[in-house]
Amino acid sequence: MSALPIIAVWLGALALNTWLARFDTRATRLAVALIFGATILILWELAVRLYAIPAVILPAPSQIGASVAANTAILWTDFVQTILKGALTGWLIGAAAAIATAIAIDRSPFLQRGLLPIGNFVAALPIVGIAPILVMWFGFDWQSKAAVVVVMVFFPILVNMVAGLAATDPMQRDLMATWAAPYGASLWKLRLPAAMPFLFNGLKITTTLALIGAIVAEFFGSPTKGMGFRISTAVGRLDLPLVWAEILVAAIAGSLFYGIVALIEKKVTFWHPSQRRQRG
């Protein structure tokens, strides 16, 4: 019975969005995404209130909002520590390492056969296992978090990059051969451009992995700031609205991060069919 308002809101929003999506302008696109989000928030608020879910299990969005407003300074410090220092640095280093490795592997069939299986293996080491070790090695501050992120993002980017470097069209390769293009030239001018759609696939997936890695690594030791630190201590104090405020910041930062990478992708791989407005 009490599910009625929830279903009503949901159906209403669904109808509104389906209608809006038909226009497909920049404004409606934004509106659709926002309405979708707003709907989830409203449903959440409704559910918490209707079913009287205790705040220590799941706080309502309104409580989370209040907590964000009250803790801006803390949230900012944590953001800088975890995302800017830990996640971003680690992601950049990890991506660079993966791309370099992919190229090295691509060049040498020997390395490809030797490194790829072992690379799979090393990179599949679960974070929760390596985080304590890396904290032990690199200390408590953000460096160890960046190290965790490096290890986490390496494999997905590597796999995609290797697939991408192999994804050239036979005729395009033959052309390079007729010009006797040296390895460097066919790498720069054929394989790398052709690999970009795959590479960005990997880069996009790992933006979110980087955040998770940096935050989770803080559970295993950290200075007294950072999003992971705050989340674990706040859970201990049952300050769930603060926990969710941090989660909210993480979600916004992650979406932005993803969005920026997607935007760069659009610029770089404008020629790929998935980015082009199809003929017709």
């Binding site: 205790p54 705040a55 220590v56 299990i57 304590p132 904290v135 032990m136 200390g139 408590f140 803080e218 559970f219 295993f220 030791g221 950290s222 200075p223 007294t224 630190f229 674990s232 201590t233 859970v235 201990g236 104090r237 049952l238 300050d239």
Partner: protein, 307 residues
């Protein structure tokens, strides 16, 4: 009658009493079917209790009182641990001899997740800032083990007399090379490992009877463990699903735990309670609790259990 107990930490001799009571059939004798859920670093037992995942939890009083202020009405029904096992363990070579003068500028490892309150109030008593700098201390959120001390990433780390301290020794550092500061000695000890339930549970007559039986059987377990450390350790080992513990370590832990439970028959000593509340209210710029709690404990259960 079914009852679920949520522990504060992983299966280890810290909870020997409960495992002994279960294995030796003390619960069964009382007509109880007790499920013991091990905890872990990410488990907030208070949250499990609020979510209905457990009937009784083992929790430290600072965390319990903090939760109470957050609106989760926890009540202490029994206190098997008389004294605190928490201490700060430092390498002698770090040059720390006296807390009043030597902590300045040092890095200290502290457990968070609700266990940081006694430390914070200690530091505020010493007049030390916990924000780092030459006149304060740098605080690290310590992980789950004693590596920061062994790797010299911190001058001192938090240890429990019964567990982490032993691990430091096991690692090969002699007691002579260490300096320890027990919270008991520093006058900032708070009550650990009490049994807590929700207020609403106490309103249920049948449940109260179960709890009475549970506490009685648990205390019987604790006393049995005190007297038979080897057997208790073996029982704990049998209950550890990860197969990670070693018998030696658990025997030592039972022995050390025995020292903490020794002074308690399960009844909460109101003087200890008051001291804990005072310590927490004094705590630094960010006091854990802002006003003295009301009704945070009850003697109803223990009175009926040990009558």
């Amino acid at each position: 009658q079914e009852l679920t107990l949520q522990l504060k930490w992983v299966t280890q001799a810290q909870f020997a009493g409960y495992y002994v009571a279960k294995d030796k059939g003390f619960y069964e004798e009382e007509g109880l079917d007790v499920t013991i859920l091990p905890g872990g670093p990410d488990i907030a037992p208070t949250q499990v209790l609020a979510g209905g995942g457990a009937d009784v939890i083992v929790e430290w009083m600072p965390a319990a009182l903090a939760a109470r202020e957050k609106g989760l009405p926890l009540v202490n029904i029994a206190q098997p641990f008389k004294s605190s096992g928490m201490m700060l363990t430092c390498l002698k070579e770090s040059g720390i001899a006296d807390p009043k003068t030597d902590f300045k500028g040092k890095t200290l490892g502290v457990w968070f997740s609700g266990n940081e309150y006694p430390f914070l109030s200690w530091m505020s008593q010493l007049g030390l800032s916990t924000e780092g700098g030459p006149d304060g201390v740098t605080v690290l959120k310590q992980g789950f083990n004693v590596d920061p001390l062994l790797q010299k990433q911190a001058a001192c780390i938090s240890t429990m007399t019964y567990n982490e301290y032993g691990q430091v020794l096991d690692a090969g550092i002699a007691p002579e090379d260490l300096v320890t500061f027990k919270y008991e000695d520093q006058g900032v000890a708070t009550l650990e490992d009490g049994l807590y339930v929700l207020e609403s549970t106490l309103e249920d007559k049948a449940k109260v009877t179960d709890l009475v039986r549970f506490v009685r059987a648990s205390m019987k377990g604790w006393k049995y463990a005190e007297e038979n450390p080897e057997e208790a350790a073996q029982i704990v080992l049998d209950n550890d699903e990860t197969g990670a513990q070693t018998l030696d370590h658990q025997v030592r832990m039972v022995t050390e735990i025995g020292k903490l439970t020794a002074g308690s028959n399960g009844v909460l000593d109101e003087a200890d309670y008051q001291r804990t509340v005072d310590t927490l209210m004094a705590g630094g710029s960010d006091p854990v609790i802002s006003k003295a709690p009301e009704g945070a404990f009850t003697h109803v259960i223990t009175d009926r259990a040990f009558d």
